[in-house]
Point group: C2
Chain length 228, copies 2
């Protein structure tokens, strides 16, 4: 499917794109996402309450760069420059991160866990529609389980000790999701051919997809000890 030429129509605008271009878009947004995740986890590491936690988060940040390198190498194989592939997604991803800058260590962990969780669930669904080797690549550059366990343990312990904190972090998680949805819409508006990869079965499929993402999100909040 992803190498055939299709002519999707999004919001009434006819597009003539090949699936290869949509795959390059997907790898481009993933590449920039990895670069930004590296940057954010690195900044979060500086908020760590001690050297042990700082080192642990720094290692997770560095893992994002390994993902970036793999995606950039695959783009090069496809004859696409990684920087060119990333550029269209810089404004919307930067806007999301600028509007959701964590004020402390726990907000950083909630943001990484909640944001990465939704993104991973989403890309896992997209991967199902891809041909190899891109399917495996996308699955392999999803976020590290280590980070999820680390974030859950840290946030849960803090929230159990302080119910007021649970309310504050719960609100924070809701704001993150709202901002992420806004920016995801801008990504799709900038690159409508991505929709073709996301849900080839059309809008009905999209609604079901959003339902699955919402369920996963609620489960993650509950694991953190937060209400959805």
């Amino acid at each position: 499917m992803c190498t055939s030429t299709v002519e999707p129509s999004v919001r009434g605008v006819p597009l003539s794109v090949s699936g290869d271009e949509a795959v390059a878009d997907l790898l481009g947004v993933l590449s920039y996402g990895a670069l930004v995740a590296f940057d954010n986890l690195g900044a979060d590491a500086r908020l760590a309450p001690d050297l042990r936690r700082r080192a642990a988060l720094s290692e997770m940040a560095a893992a994002e760069l390994v993902h970036y390198r793999r995606l950039a190498d695959r783009l090069a194989e496809l004859g696409v420059d990684a920087v060119d592939a990333m550029e269209p997604f810089v404004p919307s991803l930067d806007a999301y991160h600028t509007s959701t800058r964590p004020r402390d260590w726990l907000e950083g962990l909630v943001k990484a866990h909640v944001g990465d969780g939704i993104a991973d669930d989403f890309y896992r669904e997209v991967a199902a529609h891809l041909a190899e080797p891109d399917r495996s690549l996308v699955l392999e550059v999803l976020h590290d389980d280590r980070h999820a366990s680390f974030a859950v343990a840290e946030v849960r312990a803090a929230v159990e000790a302080d119910p007021v904190l649970a309310d504050r972090l719960g609100l924070w998680a809701r704001r993150l999701v709202a901002e992420a949805i806004t920016q995801a819409q801008l990504v799709v508006a900038a690159r409508p051919r991505l929709v073709e990869l996301v849900e080839p079965s059309g809008l009905a499929g999209l609604a079901a997809l959003i339902d699955r993402l919402t369920t996963g999100h609620a489960a993650r909040l509950s694991a953190l000890g937060l209400r959805s």
Copy 2:
């Protein structure tokens, strides 16, 4: 030599330490150095004038974390916790970096190149006195040549276009070296047994070592297009 028990006397204070402890100190300071280099290169990447340079510097930052991991694994083999091994060196390395925070992209590159260059020359000399596997490990975690070529090309081009900049960056490099020497003295004061690794032949050897480091530093400045 590094596994025998020696009783060095530094500044007249008799010490009873094993060479293994000095090796753990060395790996500790290298580990924290790698963690801080990761952090600084990551922050420098944010100053990059474009996405291509930002991605390049981010990759070099991530390479530091790979070094950190190798050093931490070796410390674990020696039965030493990496965080414990790093702690003594946090104040002096942090003081160096706090007092030399680059104000722009080029200052960041000069700092990384000049500072890493001296540190690498120094650790290369230390490695010659170590037994395996630590000798190879220390040599392998020296900074990436990619970073040196990248920094030289960027700074040289900027300096050739603007001689005033050459003066400013030359002054900056002198300040970096002065701060580095101050902090290196504090490191040795905090961990005098490190001297045993650095120059087993005593103070005469130390003077020759400082001479060699100075020569290397002057060569690097000249490659950057700066006067020493």
